[in-house]
């Protein structure tokens, strides 16, 4: 029987994300490990109450950058089997997930390391932006410190 072809499952959607759905999508019989990262909306930033995040994306390029991340993961961790990356767009209320990364591998260290690499690289390279909407005061476009062209002042730069 031929070996499983590893799948790269990439989704950008305004629908609510499901960790169960991501986990099921990367499950495979020959893998003993599934690692998940879930990024959720926090309710505070520098003492201000956040009521929601709003995400937008340059969709075709976000998809191609996410595919590059999957390809990099497979080069660095060849035993990785399936990779699922889902990012929500539009409004994401507090405590809901904005991003979920799920990766399966035969043994745990590869999927754990690959998930960390995936989210770190996503934050540096994928053309997606989020705006924090506060209970009071002006909304603010956030900047990831991982992004090379963000202002290199404090970690939490606002614009």
């Amino acid at each position: 029987m031929a070996a499983d072809q590893g799948q790269d499952l990439i989704t950008l959607t305004t629908d609510k994300l499901s960790a169960d759905g991501v986990s099921e999508s990367v499950t495979c019989p020959s893998c003993g490990a599934i690692s998940l990262f879930i990024g959720t909306t926090r309710d505070n930033f520098e003492g201000k109450k956040v009521i929601r995040l709003e995400y937008e994306a340059y969709i075709p390029m976000a998809e191609s950058e996410l595919r590059k991340i999957c390809s990099d993961i497979r080069t660095k961790w060849p035993s990785v089997r399936h990779i699922c990356i889902q990012h929500r767009l539009g409004v994401v209320p507090v405590t809901e997930a904005s991003v979920i990364i799920g990766i399966s591998s035969p043994h745990r260290s590869e999927s754990l390391e690959a998930v960390k690499y995936g989210i770190d690289t996503l934050k540096a390279t994928v053309p997606i932006w989020k705006k924090e909407i506060y209970e009071s005061g002006q909304p603010c476009w956030k900047e990831n410190k991982e992004c090379l062209w963000a202002d290199d002042g404090t970690d939490s730069k606002e614009s």
């Binding site: 340059y58 075709p60 934050k123 053309p127 997606i128 932006w129």
Partner: protein
Amino acid sequence: MNTEQVSVLYFAKSAELTGLKAENITVPSNITSLQLWQDLETRHPRLSVLRDQVVLAVRQEYVPLCAQPLSLREGDEVAIIPPLSGG
């Protein structure tokens, strides 16, 4: 001098500053990324606040603002990319 019509796409803060999601402009095909940005700042002066914190994406590849000629082709997409905040 060859000129080409390209689409400029605005995202996030740059869309708010210009009031636009997209526009078509005609520029020399060998314009540099820096010259293209300066052209856009002339059209939309409010973009100047992003000058030190922006890159372009030409045909979906990142290009910093510099003296690199872009070799633009008719119908190319040039996206304005403020600092990323995915994830």
